[in-house]
Amino acid sequence: MSGADRRAGDGRTPASDEVLLVDGLRVGYNGAPALDGVSLVVPHGAQVAVVGPNGAGKSTLFKAIVGLLRPAAGRVLIPGRPPGDQADPVAYVPQREEVDWRFPVTVRDVVTMGRYGRLGPLKRPQPADREAVLRALGQLGIADLAGRPIGELSGGQQQRVFLARALAQEPHVLLLDEPFTGVDARAKEAVLELLAGLRAQRITVLVSTHDMETAAQRFELVALLNGRLVAFGPPADVFTPTHITAAFGGQALFLDDLVVIDQCCPGHVGDGTGHRHEHAHQPELWHEHGDGPERP
């Protein structure tokens, strides 16, 4: 049973086919807004890459969408309702460093937690829940790891556990925070294949990433952030020199049809919003027209 089947006929999906509305959103930590004036409408079943420099507010946007951060202004509606008020869950896969990997739980325990939203506080998981867990483990190819403690897994396996948990939620909207960071090319390709499968189920997906080549080539919509929404639309419309300069400032270097973005040391660029993320020196190269990888 796909997510789309469950939603059909429940009467809550707005007629316009929009599933996620962000309207004039301002949100931040302790006063200073990390994001301001962000408005976007994501159509039902769309897959959106959220890109921008370190500290651009990508994670902040996700936390506002799932209701972890309360907006200082504006609103988020999924579909038509504020966060935390959905019958169908919004699944959120946090960055890997936000998880306590020493906690003594197994892969199956973690994925089963994805079902808790459907269970009352006193109710134990039912056979239908166990089936959903097995299905999600199978979809991610980690059924054989079900009994392993999460601390014993590799980085790529850990990520797949959290993706399986998100699928076990049978979500309406799926948010993945930096799923391509710190995993190898094969693990990244596995995530992209999974996303292709979700497209068929019409699950709306937002992915934050530093990987602009993937954003340009594998997503139909891109949201470019830098404390505000610089641009939102198809990759060809978003990745223009004007927008890239607006988002990355001096980090961007244009060489004919090639763009180089130096994601090291972001302190001296942008509009001075907080830079909370790790500053790995990873110059990134890609062709503006997306005609093949050209990595150093």
Partner: protein, 283 residues
């Protein structure tokens, strides 16, 4: 040998002491698993000391010591939340301030009583040999409440402890579970008052659970092993206390510590011996 083992428990007060120690050993150890996993050891210790003024006031008023302790523990638990809310004061700083203030207030109040030294020693380090029948019933009832709530809401406690972000996105209130955990912690400390005293209850919360974490890889198993370690420590400590005529609370805690050190050295896969062997094998 059998005589040697049964002799202490021919005495009725020793039977009550055994029952009370076992209850405390088990309930502290099971709840302690969450204390260890959430790094709440300092908070547990602070709460334990913070009940001292409550006990003192109840003592001076001639009312129930347990009720006084419980009220004081709850006030301090919520006081810590109040001062550290919004990140103005760090939580460990708030704990340190309230913990010292409550302990001082307790000592100050008790120092107005003539039998000051004895009373304070009993509160700080327990007096398990003085457990009455009524005490035992109360201890058992409170321990049962703690275990029933903890096991009944087990999956909610695990969710809130492991992943408060997921709990939140699923429409749960992880901060409420944390508050409930503080209440359970306060009840457990009150239960432990007579056995190991406020000075040593933190050890019973942390040591058996830490031992179990070295020997197991899943939370249900960790809780079961912790309960066993807590029970074995309690019984061993009582025997040591009886035959060597030493303080029972301290003997129980040291018995638990010996088991922890043994696990730290010999635990399969994680102990010192094992890691040493691996290092030699790879060298």
């Amino acid at each position: 040998m059998i005589d040697w083992l049964t002799e202490p428990f021919a005495l009725e007060f020793m039977q009550r002491a055994l029952a009370a120690s076992l209850i405390v050993g088990v309930v502290c150890s099971v709840l302690g698993c969450f204390v260890v996993l959430r790094s709440m050891a300092f908070l547990g210790d602070a709460l334990a000391h913070a009940i001292l003024p409550g006990v003192a006031i109840a003592y001076l008023l001639g009312t129930n010591l347990v009720a006084g302790a419980l009220v004081a523990a709850l006030i301090v638990a919520f006081g810590i939340g109040f001062f550290s809310r919004g990140g103005v004061v760090r939580e460990d700083t708030a704990i340190g301030i309230l913990f010292a203030a409550a302990l001082s207030l307790g000592v100050l109040l008790i120092s107005t009583v003539r039998t000051y030294a004895t009373d304070l020693t009993h509160i700080l380090f327990g007096n398990v040999l003085g457990v009455t029948g009524a005490d035992l019933w109360l201890t058992g009832a409170l321990a049962a409440i703690v275990l029933i709530v903890l096991l009944g809401l087990y999956k909610e406690f695990v969710l809130a402890a492991f992943d408060p972000v997921l709990a939140h996105t699923l429409g749960r209130r992880p901060e409420l579970m944390r508050a409930l955990m503080l209440v359970l912690l306060a009840l457990t400390i009150v239960v432990s008052l007579q056995t190991v005293g406020v000075g040593l209850v933190a050890a019973m919360l942390v040591t058996p659970a830490a031992t179990a974490s070295l020997l197991t890889r899943r939370l249900p198993a960790m809780m079961a092993v912790a309960a066993l370690v807590g029970a074995v420590s309690s019984v061993t400590g009582l025997y040591v206390s009886y035959y060597l005529d030493v303080a029972s609370g301290a003997a129980i805690v040291l018995a638990a510590t010996v088991l922890f050190v043994a696990a730290f050295v010999f635990a399969p896969g994680r102990g010192l011996v094992w890691r040493g062997r691996l290092r030699r094998a790879s060298a």
